[in-house]
Symmetry: C2
Subunit: 350 residues, 2 copies
């Protein structure tokens, strides 16, 4: 099937040019399905949709309540599936979203991206426009019990098409981070150890580099503290770091490790007793989570400023409830104070 596509691309350039990348991918999916020989676009889309189903099922099993599932189209090209569970037994809110976007980059965007990705404009020749593809899975889970931590994960793939339809520049990004209201060191250690294991399997440099990147990215600058106790984060792995096949393998391992890492933590915490004051502290921490997402998170602000974006899918990351108390400060020496201290001075957990 690959030789056929290749032959089409080289023998019928004029008719190919009249089909968009999205149309061509749609045709190929219909005619040949998706295999290991398919373009990365189709493999990534297939993989994240499978993982979405898998994660939704696992969280439903844990909670007892069901996710609502919305499929949506983006009129500019592409679409997605948003799954959201609200007011469940274990989870206050859990959102697992997949989006697959086809579009065209205008020249200023290409210029900007070429600063970090030489391959987008080889030999310094910047085209007037370029078709692009972006696909990703994002999830966020806010448990009810203040002893159970919020978690966030995102893995994504981006590529541009060359005029002949073959892949141009490409990169993967993503990561996962944990945000407890009450800190259990054993949870933080387990979360980081699992991520380190995934990283180490692929590259011993990944964990220290991506752990640091995560602490720096999820930094709530105006509060002078990290959003949570971190994890891993990387904006883009491209050919300067590794090859596409090995990076996809790393992304797959990262995403697949989510359920076996997070579910045991929730199982340990979901039934723990808590006071009204501890619930209130969770609500205040949720407020700071909202602040980070709306003020500093580049993904959220990019999304909210994208014409035609599905706002409800972007903002499913918001907690169900949050609180802001003027000048609220934890008691010195309390568990709440220790959390803040760790957020101000990120620790090495493994």
């Amino acid at each position: 099937s690959v030789p056929l596509t290749y032959a089409m691309a080289v023998t019928e350039p004029l008719s190919m040019d009249s089909l968009s990348l999205a149309d061509r991918d749609e045709q190929q999916k219909k005619n040949e399905g998706v295999s290991e020989a398919s373009p990365m676009r189709l493999r990534m889309e297939k993989f994240i949709k499978e993982q979405q189903d898998h994660i939704v099922k696992a969280l439903e099993e844990l909670d007892g309540a069901k996710f609502r599932k919305d499929e949506w189209q983006r009129k500019e090209g592409g679409g997605g599936i948003t799954c959201c569970l609200q007011d469940g037994n274990v989870f206050e809110k859990a959102g697992v979203g997949v989006s697959v976007v086809y579009g065209t980059l205008p020249k200023p965007a290409i210029l900007k991206m070429s600063a970090n990705h030489k391959n987008i404009a080889p030999n310094g020749e910047v085209p007037d426009s370029l078709e692009f593809f972006a696909a990703g899975l994002s999830l966020i889970v806010h448990p009810k019990n203040p002893m159970a931590p919020t978690v966030h994960l995102n893995y994504r793939y981006f590529e541009t098409a060359k005029p002949d339809g073959s892949s141009g520049a490409w990169w993967f990004g993503g990561g996962s981070d944990l945000t407890p209201s009450y800190l259990f060191d054993e949870d933080a250690i387990q979360f980081h150890r699992d991520l380190k294991d995934v990283c180490d399997k692929h590259n011993k440099d990944y964990y220290p580099k991506f752990k640091k990147w995560c602490d720096e990215y999820f930094y709530n600058k105006h509060r002078g503290e990290c959003r949570g106790i971190g994890g891993i984060f990387f904006d883009d792995i491209d050919e300067t770091v590794s090859d596409k096949e090995n990076t996809f393998a790393f992304i797959q391992d990262g995403l697949k490790s989510f359920i076996p890492t997070y579910v045991p933590i929730v199982l340990k915490r979901k039934g723990m007793p808590f006071t009204e004051a501890e619930k209130e502290w969770q609500q205040i921490r949720r407020g700071k989570y909202v602040e980070f997402n709306l003020v500093h998170d580049r993904g959220t602000s990019f999304g909210l400023n994208t014409p035609g974006a599905r706002v409800e899918s972007i903002l499913m990351s918001m907690p169900l409830t949050a609180s802001w108390r003027y000048m609220h400060e934890p008691q010195p020496g309390s568990r709440e104070a220790r959390l803040v201290e760790v957020l101000q001075n990120p620790k090495e957990w493994v």
Copy 2:
């Protein structure tokens, strides 16, 4: 006292240059007090501090609970007074803040400001730095009862100093807007009529111009709706619009009209019965208020990105509690739906 100051400025330029604007103002306040002949900086500061006391007293009388009062210094120059009432009988949260800032504008900031204010760089000569003064009063009140509307108000004065210490460019800004969860037309009409009366007294063009400006500024772009039912807003009135004395008179009338406008609305609504679903709707509207403030409000993002800013004073605008429900939509034909319709299509109330 003015001739003395003037004489000092022209006869002792060298010793004057060694005193900052803040030092000189401090001296003048101590030696001479503040009168109608004082520089606008001192008159504005005095006026907003008096109004802060007045508003705090009036809201305490209405609520029964007391405000907490924090005075703070900004190590870069200036400071403020933040008054906050939390979890009261009538108000979920009420914040009334005054800030008075002395500082120095670097050249890039002067260049940027000179686009809208020629006087900041007369004859196109842009100095390397300029001392500036900024003072303002901001308030936000979130009542508990979902039938009582949230209100926001801000009035501010900005000026730069010429090298000889006299005033350079100046402008006033401000406005006031109402954000109900449940729309009572009579409240919206009264709120707008009172603002129109204040405006009309000074300039018949003000109300229509500033009403429109308010609808445009407090537009929650990613939601496609206004934050509330508006009021008035203006970024800067300078010498191209009116003179300093008349503008100050307008600002004073605007600020003084707050209590007589807002208190009667709260008195009518604070005891009205409401259901749990109506309280929940208020919480969802509060969530959108948070979104506007953190994503779109230039004042908030400017504040949060200012080094040394007092974050708790900026974020006292946050409601005590807020909620986000995925895909929450009001029932067609309901009161909730009518509010959204009005937010999507701002009305002329007077």
